[in-house]
Symmetry: D2
Subunit: 362 residues, 4 copies
Amino acid sequence: MKNTFGNNVSVTLFGESHGEAIGAVIDGLPAGVEVDEAFITHQLDLRRPFGKISTPRQEADRFSIVSGVFNGKTTGTPICVIIPNENTKSGDYSKNYGKARPGHADYTAYVKYNGSEDYRGGGHFSGRITAGLVAGGAIALDLLKKKGILIGTHIKKCAGIADDGFSDYDADIKFLSDAKFPVLNDNAKVEIISAIEKAAEAGDSVGGILETVVTGVPAGAGEPWFDSVESMLSHALFSIPAIKGVEFGAGFGCADMYGSQMNDQFRFENGAVTAETNNNGGINGGISNGMPILFSCAVKPTPSISKEQSTINFINGEDVTLNVTGRHDPCIVHRARVVVDSIVAITLCDLLSQKFGTDWLV
Amino acid sequence: MKNTFGNNVSVTLFGESHGEAIGAVIDGLPAGVEVDEAFITHQLDLRRPFGKISTPRQEADRFSIVSGVFNGKTTGTPICVIIPNENTKSGDYSKNYGKARPGHADYTAYVKYNGSEDYRGGGHFSGRITAGLVAGGAIALDLLKKKGILIGTHIKKCAGIADDGFSDYDADIKFLSDAKFPVLNDNAKVEIISAIEKAAEAGDSVGGILETVVTGVPAGAGEPWFDSVESMLSHALFSIPAIKGVEFGAGFGCADMYGSQMNDQFRFENGAVTAETNNNGGINGGISNGMPILFSCAVKPTPSISKEQSTINFINGEDVTLNVTGRHDPCIVHRARVVVDSIVAITLCDLLSQKFGTDWLV
Amino acid sequence: MKNTFGNNVSVTLFGESHGEAIGAVIDGLPAGVEVDEAFITHQLDLRRPFGKISTPRQEADRFSIVSGVFNGKTTGTPICVIIPNENTKSGDYSKNYGKARPGHADYTAYVKYNGSEDYRGGGHFSGRITAGLVAGGAIALDLLKKKGILIGTHIKKCAGIADDGFSDYDADIKFLSDAKFPVLNDNAKVEIISAIEKAAEAGDSVGGILETVVTGVPAGAGEPWFDSVESMLSHALFSIPAIKGVEFGAGFGCADMYGSQMNDQFRFENGAVTAETNNNGGINGGISNGMPILFSCAVKPTPSISKEQSTINFINGEDVTLNVTGRHDPCIVHRARVVVDSIVAITLCDLLSQKFGTDWLV
Amino acid sequence: MKNTFGNNVSVTLFGESHGEAIGAVIDGLPAGVEVDEAFITHQLDLRRPFGKISTPRQEADRFSIVSGVFNGKTTGTPICVIIPNENTKSGDYSKNYGKARPGHADYTAYVKYNGSEDYRGGGHFSGRITAGLVAGGAIALDLLKKKGILIGTHIKKCAGIADDGFSDYDADIKFLSDAKFPVLNDNAKVEIISAIEKAAEAGDSVGGILETVVTGVPAGAGEPWFDSVESMLSHALFSIPAIKGVEFGAGFGCADMYGSQMNDQFRFENGAVTAETNNNGGINGGISNGMPILFSCAVKPTPSISKEQSTINFINGEDVTLNVTGRHDPCIVHRARVVVDSIVAITLCDLLSQKFGTDWLV
């Protein structure tokens, strides 16, 4: 199922960085959900390059919903969102074909597609394809919000600089929903941006960690074993280019913990199940337990850097040196944030409709 | 698809900890592969409790292959492996029904299944179900070995004590394949076992990190976006109970790296593509690049501890204290190792047969 | 997904005719459904050979539910039903290996599995495997019944002799549920049985048509395009060996009809939507319209006949003549009936839970 | 998976009759296949209305391939084909909303989508959506042709008038590939067209049967049980609106045959496996046997007729009479032909790549 993911609610991605258009088909969302095109634009804006710390390639990201919406509401049938590619400079890329950019999919795409891949700007492997996901995911995010399910992601760490943790989920999520650069602590924000700019000047790039919270998911979502909340979310998250790690709750930190520390001891609070700690990230046995779902994603430094690198020319079999030109992001951590939110929203719609039926989501 | 995973090669799990039997159905493996029952037994032995650092519940794990094997070879049709449950002491569990063991799926299973779950010993959420996976996975491991694809996992860290990293993949994998307690450094092994025993004496448990290497995977396996090597492996790995984190290559460490450090600069070596570093874990753009696939999994401390804990009684809605009795593992990191190898082997068979066809695997 | 079918509710089949056991795993049924083992036995009895018109191979069909049922109720986790093979006479088959029985899968299995197939008694392609489906399907049938959804199938035609059509769905379904030989008209029943016996004496076999009605399915089940009620049911039905045709409502008869005859003109009757005719078989645009779902299946004559036949020996590449010995059914139309009901019940549970959620089924 | 079908090769459909555009995403086709846009146009022309026997709604069907094709060849990534809707007269439809057109999905779509469906011209249930399938299927047809696999479909019967059967598969397929009205016998063609015109004048419509042959499929394609050739093809075929029956080989005729007649007795001919008869339609046990695959589909009379009909108004709960105006086809059998060929081509690519790998198809 290559470019399609999900069971009851699914998403299919298509497009190449320098092709005619990129897009997504979201299927299985319930009928009758209002589609807020301004919110889709807002979400696409959050994904777009930002200031000096992003690529100068500016895409208008004019999206067009060609199906599945009628009179401003979802019809229940597949929603196809198309975003035409504009401002492409294909000439930048073709002359270097064969020289594998380190950290990119140039070489693997060549092997996989026997030399017929669209190599321009990373082709189908480009982060550009996530714009379709963000447009489609905006509808899922909106729908979940109406059910009281909120998603927020901040930069936990970037360029080695840490942000504060969440302090008040609801307030933080609200703040992040409009933040172009999603850092909770203002000083950390200034430092991180400065570090990115410094790396950019050196022709280099930086990575980071995104931390996400989802509040309002009822207990009982997810399936045992293979369709656990963790399995489904990680499947979705690792499909985002540059994501190299996913951890839930205490994650890798649990290697240094005792069971007596790790276990979240339940208690009732106003009739609701809760606990002092949330080291399991709101998930027990792969099923949501009603507490906030918490996870982090590692985002690698953008592989496109201006420094000279050694690599191979896979066409003629020679070792070469490469100076990548073109327009690049010295950091994509902040741009990846909204992609995470989008894909998580779609995946949660899928998991929730398995237990409760598609109609429950309206 | 709840308890079934995979496309061309799939696995279905069934069973409860204290039911009649647990088992797995592996479908899509090629026909004509020799089935080595001694190797299956060997793998099940690696999963079984070990010395003082494991539960005294000893299962013979007598497996029975009831389909899909004829004259000692796979037939190409579904292989069903059944392992009867023996030595079950259900009385230990039933009296505490309603008191959610912290860190376990008791409460979430109750909500998900509306009170009809088999609660004995964790029921369908028990780690016991992985025995079926190990039995079925042994056939996949064996098959990959014949194609030159080797999988090895060691304890990178446990109870806060670190093992050495891999130094020689082939030798290390060979060593680990027979190691009951998979630690590469002998001193570390002694220290870790001692720390586990100490935790056990205190009625507590410890967690750890497993590190896995897969050598010999040809470039070109995996699919863009949703069926990337990372997406498929993480989906499979997070279905193992207790796994709370998965990272590939440099993983979360990439947050502190520059692109110029993270990028693996390719070069040819004897005609083969290689690189000095492998921070991308053998995967670019979700597709294998021919270098070893490297990843780590965080394994949480066993939630079953003997210390008194606060929790809820979800039947009568009261806060209670709980003293978990029964037989427990103070650590399952070493036991989880062979489960990781098994599920990775099955998933790789699936990914490889997508590009090359099922017959390629023979 | 080879041997697994379904989305929210799925079934996985395994086993070979002369292996250790055959069985099925049903996943996704809701928790808390009472499991009536007597009804499962009753359904398996309907599938078993009957009098002189069936094979003398008598299987006790002692089934064992090894998972997914606790305290007499479904737990919501996978239900694995195992039926050991008994009374196998493998010696009958092995000596003829290589001589493809016409109409059977001997040759195609050989090609597909590169000569490693279990050829004894048809191996994995044997109708015997349907016993697992019947056992698992019984739970689904029972569950649907509690929701007011009833399924009944009769022999519309066999050996060229026609049965009466349905006259009163509820009464007919009730009658058929206990009928060992499911024919509505008593005279037709006598004639058909006599024709089968005559064919059996001549060493030959006969085919027939099964007609099924499903009452009580609410409007709105099924999905547009690929998961239409017709697509899903036909997918399931054509997986039954010997089924060579499926038609809904007027089916192939619509080639001789005008639109004005074919269209079912709706009207309200006591507030419910109905129509004089049901040529669309209760399905419009792939979605159930609330009227009875009606379809027919063509069942080919059993390919195992005692007459001498020409065929190939695919091992040595020679044309040969073959006298099939062993124990055969001169007709399987009546035995296939309960397989149809079973697979339809499972598929409907899947379709219904897509719209309404798994919990709706309880 | 609602609007997505297939495993290794899949197709996703989207769009509504009077929306902005309709289209399809084909994923999993191998890389490096030449894409012949003239052939796509040719196939779309075969689907378009024809002479007096079709709707006067003429669509230019200008398609646009927005992804998955580079330098005239497939890239191996998803191919998205978009066909804008033109010449829509939505005013014709909206005024009758609530009055369920008999035989159409108006009422079922209303129930399924809780009143939020796009009702204009049948919305997502319109035959118009098949244009995307035809465009995408053209690439699959072309690819199979290069592997020696040919598909041809003729009208076996229409308006009660029978065509000749196939006499020479290769010549007939070649003839049909350019035939706007696919009937083999010239007299039958004249009679059928005349009968359709007569029905049209009476404000009525007619149905028919399509017969398809596929030559060149190697033995060994298809999977046992649920992904049999019959299961997969019927699943795909029944997703075409108006198809109400599918039969393979002798199909429903087998109810009147003896096993000794039905069985296709194999023999070798120039080293290849063949048989005098092909009553099993080239499929044994769900697996292709190397002989031509033969099947027929029943196509119901177009439900849109000009005659007055009784029906319900599902908005106000009243019985009403309806005079459907707008532009209609008195027959769609000939137009459905190319849809059958397209969907069969895509499904065969999927089945073949399961055994042989995607790369085999190039």
